[in-house]
């Protein structure tokens, strides 16, 4: 199933957190003075850095799309190869 | 008229077959009780059942037992390929669907007739303080579940690995029934029964039934011709 491939993709993304979005994080302007006010005041929340989260989100999106396109491309190639093979077999059969 | 007559005949035949073997009712009933037992281990704390868990236990049990019954009822039609004989009859296909649906629903309600009192006794729930609402939710929920279930079980009857695919297909599609059943029942089980909420859920269930039975009637004919 495609999903397994995506799950794998997610794990990869989690590991290399943020290659595509790293630049985004680096250019981060100084934080707004008031910071963020979470909806729920869960203790310890402020320490949670936003960067890896954003990076992971963008990384996953990019990776999922890329892997999906790659998988279609691979499947297209496989079908193409099979088609060429069959066409050859038909021609060979026709000449016989 | 002939539509209803055909449906009634198919349903009566199913119930006659079941009255001979009683296999579906016995197995799904026993399975339902086993389910309740398993849930009790997880959801009963210090002799008391967790808040709202009773409603969940009731509906999940119904859903699980329903899947078992659906699978078996259509296995039976497959055994001697009688499903093909039904489809070959000059009756409207939709009528045959309705007949199967009535048969499935009757068996499901029969199982519920024992499971519901059991839940009341074993989890100390007073389900029928508002009998009209409770019966309405039970009936509308079971109808919606059986309607979608009958369609998919019938279509899966000739498919490979149908035993595994039926629950996988059925549970996501019947999510509204489960939510509606559980939340509606939970609203009725509160110390002060929340009738406004229960009515909202009943409305949702009835709307679900209306839309999905219509869709099933449309879909059955084209989906059953190979």
């Amino acid at each position: 199933m495609k999903c397994f491939r995506f799950v794998r993709a997610f794990l990869v993304a989690a590991m290399m957190l943020g290659a595509p979005a790293l630049s985004l994080a680096q250019q981060q302007p100084p934080k707004a003075p008031e910071g963020f006010v979470p909806v729920d005041q869960v203790p310890g929340q402020e320490e949670l850095p936003a960067k890896p989260l954003v990076a992971a989100a963008y990384g996953v999106a990019w990776l999922a799309v890329l892997i999906y396109v790659f998988s279609i491309w691979k499947r297209l190639n496989a079908v193409e190869r099979e088609m060429a093979d069959i066409a050859r077999r038909i021609e060979a059969g026709g000449r016989r | 008229m002939t539509f209803l007559a055909t449906a009634a005949r198919v349903a009566r035949k199913d119930l006659l077959v079941e009255s001979r073997s009683r296999e579906v009712v016995y197995t799904s009933l026993l399975f339902a009780i086993s389910c309740m037992l398993v849930f009790a281990f997880g959801l009963v704390k210090e002799g008391r059942v967790v808040t709202d868990a009773t409603a969940a236990i009731l509906w999940i049990t119904i859903a699980f037992a329903g899947t078992l019954a659906l699978g078996r009822i259509f296995d039976r039609e497959r055994q001697n390929e009688t499903l093909r004989a039904l489809l070959l009859a000059p009756a409207s296909r939709a009528a045959i669907y309705v007949g199967k649906l009535v048969g499935v629903l009757t068996l499901l309600l029969l199982v519920e007739a024992i499971v519901v009192p059991l839940v009341m006794v074993m989890f100390g729930a007073t389900l029928f303080r508002h009998p009209a609402f409770m019966l309405g939710i039970l009936l509308a929920g079971s109808l919606g579940y059986a309607a979608v279930g009958t369609l998919f079980a019938a279509m899966l009857a000739r498919s490979r690995s149908r035993a595994a695919l039926l629950p996988v297909l059925l549970y996501p599609i019947t999510v509204p029934v489960i939510i509606g059943g559980v939340r509606g029942t939970a609203a009725l089980l509160q110390p002060e029964a929340d009738l406004v909420v229960a009515r909202a859920w009943l409305t949702m269930l009835v709307a679900f039934d209306a839309v999905f039975i219509t869709l099933c009637l449309w879909t059955f004919e084209p989906a059953m011709t190979e």
């Binding site: - | 005949r9 035949k13 006659l16 039904l86 000059p90």
Partner: protein, 232 residues
């Protein structure tokens, strides 16, 4: 609706990458009994399923008289009787209940008369109230045949009706088929028991890997002709 012939023109049926039937063309008239011969998996059952309207052809047309299956609908199904290899009987129900259920489902008049006629024809009058699960293969086969003939269909389709029958049952079945043919029905059957149908068959077709060919005329029994053709 009614019809007096069934015509297959260039009927092809694919299952994914497998071609079950390939360009099958022939026609059978009322009062004829046609046999489909061929090895297992040659497409005989697929052809019967298509003739019964349960399966649609991928390409090609099947005409019942002048109507297609799509145009015929329930009225057409009312004129078709199919005895499948799986017999289409509810084993939990008794012989009589099976017949009665299908008679009612077909909306027939005189249900009681038809049911008792069918029980007599299948020689199961004394077992009428026994469940089908207690029947032998031969008894089931007889009952299933009568079930398929309950509504006196124009087109009678039989998938391996002689399989599992002893000699006397086979003789009885042959006589029954001859009677059905005499009423003006179109009988189309598949079989491996060529001797059993030798005397009643009007036309025979050989299916091989989805292709259909008429059995060549010639000397000898049906079996001899079939063997000659297959080996050729």
């Amino acid at each position: 609706m009614d019809f007096t012939s069934v015509t297959f023109s260039d009927v092809t049926r694919n299952f994914g990458r497998r071609r079950a039937l390939s360009g099958v063309s022939f026609s059978v008239e009322a009062g004829q009994l046609a046999a489909l011969l061929g090895a297992n998996g040659s497409g005989k059952s697929t052809l019967l399923s298509i003739a019964s309207t349960l399966l649609a052809a991928t390409t090609g047309i099947v005409l019942y008289g002048t109507a297609t299956a799509a145009a015929g609908g329930p009225a057409l199904r009312n004129r078709i009787g199919l005895l499948g290899h799986d017999l289409y009987l509810y084993s939990e129900l008794t012989a009589e209940e099976n017949l009665r259920f299908f008679a009612e489902l077909y909306g027939l008049d005189g249900v009681q008369r038809r049911v008792s006629d069918a029980l007599r024809a299948s020689a199961l009058e004394d077992r009428a109230n026994d469940p089908v699960s207690s029947f032998s293969r031969g008894m089931r086969q007889r009952l299933a045949l009568e079930r398929a003939l309950l509504h006196s269909p124009r087109l009678v389709l039989l998938d391996e009706p002689f399989t599992g029958l002893d000699d006397s049952s086979a003789i009885a079945l042959r006589a029954r088929l001859a009677r059905v043919r005499a009423t003006g029905a179109i009988v189309l059957l598949t079989t491996h028991e060529l001797e059993a149908i030798d005397t009643i068959v009007d036309a025979a077709y050989v299916l091989s890997r989805g292709r259909c060919m008429p059995l060549a005329p010639g000397a000898g029994s049906l079996r001899d002709r079939y063997r000659r053709q297959v080996q050729a």
